[in-house]
């Protein structure tokens, strides 16, 4: 086996003591940048990049890559404990992660997220190892028509997220789409709703909105309920030390979720520009549609946490494929890695793995080791993090406000974005109070601009003809999958549900 020999060679490169040290530093830094809300892996990478100027490139890339995938582990911790996503790919993890913690299952939720991250990350690396050439074909077959269809497919997620009160849900999504129109119009270069402000040229970034809506909104809602007056109670319940480990039921009920989340996440990650955020949202909605307990989603269903967690980690591995096989970065973080490659005098492209086998395989091998290290670090660190939620709420709350503000500011050092975050916090409180859907708003804000740009690019290319969507093979595939999902999922639900529902009705 060629691959096996390559991998062993890579492992021999990766396993030198100094490289292992760099790998561990990267993993720990990654965890930390993941934990701080808003401060994502691309920012962490960019800050550490100048440090690597004088380093040996292999050790340096192992460290930088570990920061990148390590952030996916850390990012979920605050999603679960504080309802504040540590970074964009962990927004979906708040949907069920936080309710789980509220129900007194913070420990199991944290352990399961570490396990899910490990499975997703490792499945991702295995797929890179054996299928890199195949998947590089996937990443090079995506043009604007496919991106548009992918965004439409992502919008199916909206249907799921809109929830029971569809009117409020639709309004939430429309607000999100409206916010998505702010910024310089990509095609004509005209400013839309920027009011001449240089800070708004790039549009409204969804991270300040997500932090405000979820993190601060939840905080204000807790004040509203008088949580700060209860002497010792934290934001979530955590009183029973015995329930630290997940139950057998947790493992059994999510084993297929892990497989589906990993594969889906990896495939979406391979597509440049789609990335871990969309992968995690898609995994969440897919899992919810397939689940027999779909009505429990959003109320603390373990599968609702495991699905986005496996997917975002698998996607971060998947995004290495276009980087290594084509020299095309699929995300902001991999773009920083690409800049590092060029800085070290390497030339990423289709011949990269052939010309630099030690570098490429050393990196791949280090990702196996890195994921193991991160699993261990996560499990050991959980008792520490759990201490956070034992802090009385009246002391914790001001800290959350500071962390949200600092986290938002650190992304682009922008005051406008920080104000937006606070405004989103107030809006989030009222949305929460009156039953709107912050999740639908954020998703619409992510997908709206993506769909708009891709559709306009497509229409320019096809000179206004919609037939381009059926003339291209990859487009046809996506249409096929989307239609299958639309037709099949409600049917599956109909077959699946009565089995669960009927006993309940009999009881009533």
């Amino acid at each position: 086996m060629d691959i096996f020999a390559d991998l062993m060679m890579g492992l021999s490169v990766a396993i030198s003591p100094i490289n292992i040290l760099y790998l561990l530093i990267g993993a720990i830094v990654g965890m930390i940048v993941g934990v701080i809300p808003g401060f994502g892996p691309s920012a962490g990478l960019a800050i550490l990049l100048p440090v690597t100027f004088g380093m040996d490139p292999i050790g340096a890339i192992m460290m930088l890559a570990a920061i990148y995938y390590g952030a996916m582990y850390g990012g979920t911790i605050t999603s679960i404990l504080l309802n504040t996503p540590g970074e964009s790919a962990t927004v979906a993890s708040t949907f069920d992660g936080f309710p789980l913690a509220k129900n007194g299952r913070a420990g199991p939720a944290l352990v399961m997220q570490a396990a899910a991250s490990f499975v997703g990350g490792t499945v991702g690396v295995i797929l890179i190892t054996i299928l890199a050439p195949l998947f590089s074909q996937v990443s090079r077959s995506f043009g604007p028509p496919e991106y548009f269809l992918l965004a439409v497919m992502g919008m199916l997620t909206l249907l799921v997220m809109i929830g029971s009160n569809w009117k409020l849900g639709v309004i939430s999504a429309l607000i999100g789409f409206a916010l998505g129109t702010v910024g310089v119009d990509l095609e004509t270069g005209q400013g839309r709703y920027t009011f001449g402000s240089a800070e708004l040229i790039g549009g409204i970034y969804f991270i300040p909105i997500a932090i405000g809506l979820f993190g601060l909104g939840e905080l204000f809602y807790a004040f509203y309920n008088g949580l700060h007056k209860t002497g010792t109670g934290g934001i979530v319940q955590y009183d029973n030390e015995e329930r630290f480990w997940p139950t057998a039921q947790d493992w059994l009920s999510t084993r297929m979720t892990m497989v589906r989340g990993s594969v889906l996440g990896f495939v979406v990650g391979v597509i440049p520009g789609a990335g871990a955020t969309i992968a995690s949202l898609m995994a969440y909605s897919t899992e919810r549609s397939l689940s027999k307990n779909s009505e429990n989603f959003g109320k603390g269903e373990m599968a609702g946490l495991v699905a986005p967690e496996t997917a975002n980690n698998a996607a971060s591995s998947g995004a290495m494929i276009p980087l290594l096989t084509l020299g095309i970065p699929g995300s902001a973080s991999t773009a920083v890695l690409l800049a590092a490659f060029i800085m070290w005098g390497l030339r990423p492209g289709p011949l990269f793995m052939e010309q630099n086998p030690e570098f490429a395989w050393g990196l791949i091998a280090s990702m196996y080791l890195g994921n193991m290290a991160l699993l261990a670090i996560s499990i050991f660190a959980i008792p520490l993090f759990v201490q956070i939620i034992k802090v009385p709420y009246r002391m914790l709350a001001p800290c959350i406000v500071v962390v949200c503000a600092l986290g938002t500011f650190s992304v682009h050092a922008s005051f406008v974005e920080t104000y937006l975050m606070f405004a989103a916090g107030i809006v989030g409180f009222f949305m929460r109070l009156y039953g709107f859907s912050p999740a639908a708003l954020v998703l619409a804000l992510v997908l709206g601009p993506l769909a708009e740009e891709a559709l306009r690019q497509t229409m320019t290319i096809s000179r206004g003809s919609f037939s381009i969507f059926v003339e291209r093979t990859p487009s046809l595939w996506i249409i096929g999958v989307t239609l299958t999902l639309i037709v099949l999922l409600p049917m599956l639900n109909r077959f699946g549900k009565p089995k669960v529902d009927q006993p309940a009705k009999a009881d009533g």
Partner: protein
């Protein structure tokens, strides 16, 4: 200088340079000793995040200054990113008259003031030097039947053609637009958010062609996945040997993105003079040559007022094209 072909512009530039240089030459010897003072920290603003083109350029220059002991005092480099450069250069703009505020420029230095109400314009600052330009290469898919730029132009005249680029109010749009005007063909411009999206769009055969910085796609050119047709700079970089320039086939467009060095507005003349002399040494070092070649930039050096004139010409050229298409009003 060859970049600005119009004779009138050249004369204007030269006149301005002479007017400013004359008093400089008199003032320099007396105060030359006092600048730079070792007690002052040089405040180097990088108007973009770490890892980008602007950041790499700034840090490369600082490394050379340190290695050859060209600057006595402390240098503190800070990334002040935001608003496509508006934040960082706005910060430098606020240090009117300061001799110790410095920054590197890139494409947004010209385009951001055209797009937003920035208090500053590119010519507001004290110019030190234009060091290099970022030029673009026009590429088609490796499987394309088109092999040369002549074939491309002939095909574009006969069939509707599209060209992809990153963003709309920038050089990616302006270069092919001016080129098409000169070569006499029409095309639809498709703008993308990032180089990676436009590259996959071309590889997936959705686009007919695209423009991009050669440094980012050299790997794909080397492997034959992309075919380079024409280069917008004055001389073709070594890595693109054999590719004609737009000028060499008779369609010179005279526009490129400035990578240079500026001081705060109204910085003391001796500071400007000191930096001009120092940069003359920097561009001679092998490290600088390495920076130019590894980032496939075109070395284009203009000092002081010539650089200011270059900025004004570039800005005016951009403004005309962008106004024509309605991108700005």
């Amino acid at each position: 200088m060859e970049l600005t072909k119009t004779l009138g512009r050249r004369m204007l530039g030269a006149a301005c340079a002479a007017a400013i240089a004359a008093p400089l030459a008199v003032a320099t010897p007396a105060i030359a000793q006092s600048y730079p003072s070792a007690d002052e920290t040089l405040d180097w603003t990088i108007a973009f995040g770490p890892g980008g083109g602007n950041d790499i350029m700034a840090r490369s220059i600082i490394e050379i200054l340190n290695k050859y002991d060209l600057y006595d005092g402390e240098i503190s480099a800070e990334n002040r990113a935001g608003g496509s450069g508006a934040v960082g250069w706005g910060y430098l703009y606020g240090q009117d008259g300061n001799a110790y505020g410095i920054s590197t420029t890139s494409g947004s230095f010209v385009t951001t003031p055209l797009q937003a109400d920035t208090p500053w314009q590119p010519e507001s600052f004290t110019p030190v030097a234009l060091l290099a330009t970022d030029d673009l290469v026009l590429v088609v898919n490796g499987d394309s039947e088109i092999d040369t730029i002549d074939e491309f132009i002939a095909n574009a005249k006969a069939n509707p053609t599209n060209i992809g680029g990153t963003g709309s109010v920038n050089v990616d749009f302006i270069v092919p637009t001016l080129f098409a005007e000169k070569a006499g063909f029409e095309f639809d411009y498709v703008s993308f958010n990032s180089m990676s999206e436009q590259t996959t769009a071309l590889l997936s055969n959705a686009l007919d062609a695209m423009v991009g910085n050669p440094g980012e796609i050299l790997g794909l050119i080397e492997s034959g996945d992309l075919k380079p047709l024409v280069f917008s700079g004055q001389t073709t970089p070594a890595a693109l040997e054999g590719v004609p320039t737009m000028g060499s086939i008779g369609f010179d467009i005279g526009v490129s993105m400035p990578r240079g060095l500026i001081l705060a507005p109204n910085a003391p003349a001796e500071a400007q003079e000191w930096w001009i002399n120092t940069m003359k040494e920097v561009v001679q070092t092998p490290e600088w040559g390495e920076y130019i070649s590894s980032n496939t930039l075109t070395p284009t050096v203009l000092y002081g007022e010539d650089f200011r004139q270059f900025l004004v010409n570039t800005k005016n050229g951009f403004e005309v094209v962008l106004r024509e298409v309605g991108a700005i009003d």
